[in-house]
């Protein structure tokens, strides 16, 4: 087990280097550069622009730039400087990352929190109207573009006043007691987490249902029933636990989908996360900020997959790895 974890962690490192190389390459291919946005001001002369170009090292050949970047990253955990914000990249991203994680994890809670029980329910009532109805509802929600559902929910929030209109915290958040702070945060999380979490819901729910149905057909289940155990114990104590396993493999992938999905939600609900920063950085071509952001998002994903693999190994010793 320990060697397995170590091996997976070591495997992740070249992966991350590869990702950084890929993003750097992509940024080099992009046309134009960051200083153009500021060049739009009639008051600025060309000397100012050139001075900035030198200061940020944009006039060095690309391999020199990348070499410097990689060295800083590996030895100093320094992601570089954000040109547009005059700060180290890590400082800019840190807050954003935490906020995106908060949203993604809450969305995951929504997804799994709904997928597992609903999937079980659908499996247990296979082919009934409950089963079909749940399927239908999940598909319906899945088919609404996030852009539209986000707008409708935002509008709903404004009209009814039941939820805040975007944002992460209320203005008076600092003066609340810890419980108040947590509740306020949850209040703001509700709609965006809902929007994001519902997206993979259909897939996971059907997965759960299918897995449970598979498991219920197996011999040991029939044996358990024959032994006289009541249906509830059979289903919940034995079958569900085994049916969840394949879902765990999808955990990492789902997390990726949630981090991606929260991108759009962050913009619509003014959630101060990584997504908004990345888009901004891309449009101003703040090189190091974009690379740092993509890297961070990838780290989240790789870590998620790692966690999923470990969980799976823990949960199901039969799984053989070659």
């Amino acid at each position: 087990m320990r060697t397995f974890i170590l091996r997976r962690v070591l495997q992740a490192i070249p992966l991350l280097v590869g990702i950084s190389a890929l993003t750097f390459l992509l940024l080099q291919l992009a046309p134009g550069d960051f200083l153009n946005t500021m060049a739009e001001n009639p008051g600025i002369s060309v000397e100012s622009i050139e001075a900035m170009r030198t200061r940020f090292g944009l006039d060095r050949p690309w391999y020199v730039q990348y070499g410097l970047y990689l060295k800083n990253l590996v030895f100093h955990l320094d992601f570089g400087q954000s040109f547009s914000r005059h700060q180290p990249v890590f400082a800019v991203l840190r807050e954003g990352l935490l906020n995106t994680l908060l949203l993604a994890v809450s969305a995951a809670v929504v997804t799994w929190g709904l997928a597992v029980p609903l999937g079980v329910w659908a499996a247990v009532r296979q082919y009934s109207w409950v089963d079909k109805g749940l399927s239908l509802l999940a598909f319906l929600w899945l088919s609404i573009p996030e852009v539209l559902s986000g707008l409708l929910l935002l509008f709903f929030a404004a009209k009814t006043g039941l939820f805040p209109v975007g944002g992460m915290r209320s203005l008076g958040w600092d003066s609340l007691d810890p419980l108040g702070k947590a509740l306020d945060l949850l209040h703001h999380l509700a709609l965006p987490a809902l929007v994001v979490g519902m997206i993979p819901l259909a897939g996971r729910m059907r997965q759960m249902r299918a897995n449970l149905l598979d498991v219920l057909r197996l011999d040991y289940v029939t044996t358990a029933r024959a032994k006289g155990l009541d249906e509830r114990t059979v289903v919940f104590k034995h079958a569900v636990r085994n049916a969840i396993n394949p879902l765990i493999t999808l955990f990492g992938f789902t997390l990726g989908a949630l981090v991606s999905g929260s991108f759009v939600a962050e913009i619509i609900f003014s959630w101060p996360g990584l997504g908004r920063i990345t888009l901004d950085a891309l449009l101003t071509q703040d090189q190091y900020l974009v690379m740092g952001s993509v890297l961070m998002a990838s780290v989240v994903l790789v870590a998620g997959n790692l966690v999923a693999d470990i969980l799976l190994a823990v949960a199901d010793p039969r799984i053989a790895y070659d």
């Binding site: 399927s135 573009p145 996030e146 259909a202 992938f253 990345t278 998002a297």
Partner: protein, 396 residues
């Protein structure tokens, strides 16, 4: 959004993964219980028909693609024509009985005049009934190489009929929706054509050849799959010079989506190929001296076919929604060309929601219905192609 890399779980293998038995897809042709008169196609069709939503989905898609194909004929106006008297015009109300009691079988509308510019309010002129006609002459267009000018329906000049109203530039929403469908509906098809070809090829090679080819390809997929979809999409979009004409932007979007889409499929195909490879009939073919290419093409890949079809159907919505997100971020197909994504993004405001809802719900519903149809169809296909369902009972 549905990630374009989402692929359904590979087809069922029994929970004991380690020992492949003869319950692979190949058994579809040899399992006992299948009567001699039942062809695979017949089995599939019978199972498929059991799901009415899937059938409905499929039928709807055929209709939608048909509409897209014939868009220039069905749309009463071109996607660029601007009616400078009627900005933000609501959908014309169709009526059948006019003021004098006469019945118009094809319905009629009233002409309108603007009464409030800042609120875009119009009043109807009830005195005149302007009947809808079929096959009216309108703006010329080219379809299948023919230059035509007859449109499916319309009204006599100088009147106009806007069944879904107009947008802020005075353009017919229905026409733009139809022309936009050409882009939005083909994004998926072209996208999966590219990504699935790549995925099948690379996944197949990877699984069959093994060794360094396998390693290289699998590492690449890991790389691509480790970057959250949208972040990769944004980064890739940024490298295309943005001053491309609309058609090329469209192509670049499709290419990008395809580029990130092949990885997921490749991995699954590889897994399937690995397990199929161990089947006895493959080793038999190898022993018989069949060339590797022939084996891959004639034996391995066809057995992935059912899975691929299902995966493709389920992947298309990811492309359609991907185009919507790109348009929302301002990186998609641009004006004046219409796509469902950019129509939706432009209409995404409170003002539109309260005062001009048709601008928002026309593309929104179109997207919704299409994605839903694909999902239902995919689901139905999956059930129909699932050997266990088709044959009934458990296997192995």
């Amino acid at each position: 959004m549905t990630d374009v890399r989402a692929v359904p779980a590979p087809p069922a293998l029994p929970p004991t993964v380690t020992t492949p038995t003869d319950t692979g897809p190949a058994s579809l042709e040899t399992a006992g219980g299948a009567t001699a008169t039942q062809t695979p196609w017949g089995l599939f069709w019978r199972q498929f028909r059991k799901s009415p939503v899937a059938v409905a989905g499929g039928a709807l898609l055929i209709v939608l693609y048909g509409l897209a194909l014939l868009a220039p004929f069905i749309a009463p106006y071109s996607q660029e024509e601007m009616d400078r008297e009627r900005y933000n015009h609501p959908p014309h109300r169709l009526r059948w009985i006019d003021a004098s009691g006469r019945f118009h079988p094809l319905s009629f509308v009233h002409s309108t005049t603007l009464v409030d510019l800042s609120r875009s309010r119009f009043v109807e002129d009830r005195s005149r009934a302007i009947p809808l006609r079929l096959f009216v002459r309108g703006a010329p267009y080219t379809l299948f190489g023919l230059r035509l000018d007859r449109h499916l329906f319309g009204v006599d000049a100088p009147h106009r009929v806007y069944l879904l109203g107009t947008d802020p530039s005075g353009r017919d929403v229905l026409s733009r929706l139809l022309f936009g469908s050409q882009i939005s509906l083909t994004v998926g098809l072209v996208g999966i054509a590219i990504s699935f070809t790549l995925g099948l090829l690379l996944g197949g090679l990877s699984g069959y050849l093994g060794g360094w080819a396998d390693a290289v390809i699998m590492r690449s997929t890991e790389l691509l799959l480790s970057i959250p979809g949208l972040y990769l999409l944004i980064a890739l979009r940024g490298i295309f010079p943005a001053d491309l004409p609309s058609q090329q932007v469209y192509l670049s979007i499709v290419v990008i989506l395809a580029f990130i889409g092949w990885a997921g499929l490749a991995r699954v195909i590889r897994g399937m190929v690995l397990s199929i490879r161990r089947q006895e009939y493959i080793t038999a073919a190898e022993a018989l001296g069949m060339s590797r290419t022939r084996i891959i093409v004639r034996h391995i890949l066809p057995n992935t076919l059912s899975f691929v079809i299902v995966a493709a159907t389920i992947a298309v919505p990811g492309y359609i929604l991907g185009e919507v997100v790109l348009s929302f971020l301002g990186l998609g197909v641009q004006e004046p060309a219409a796509s469902w994504g950019n129509m939706l993004s432009q209409a995404r405001s409170q003002r539109v929601l309260t005062s001009f809802p048709w601008m928002l719900f026309a593309p929104g519903t179109a997207i919704f219905v299409t994605v839903l149809a694909f999902n239902f169809l995919g689901d139905g296909l999956r059930d129909a192609l699932d050997p266990r369902k088709v044959l009934g009972g458990k296997t192995g």
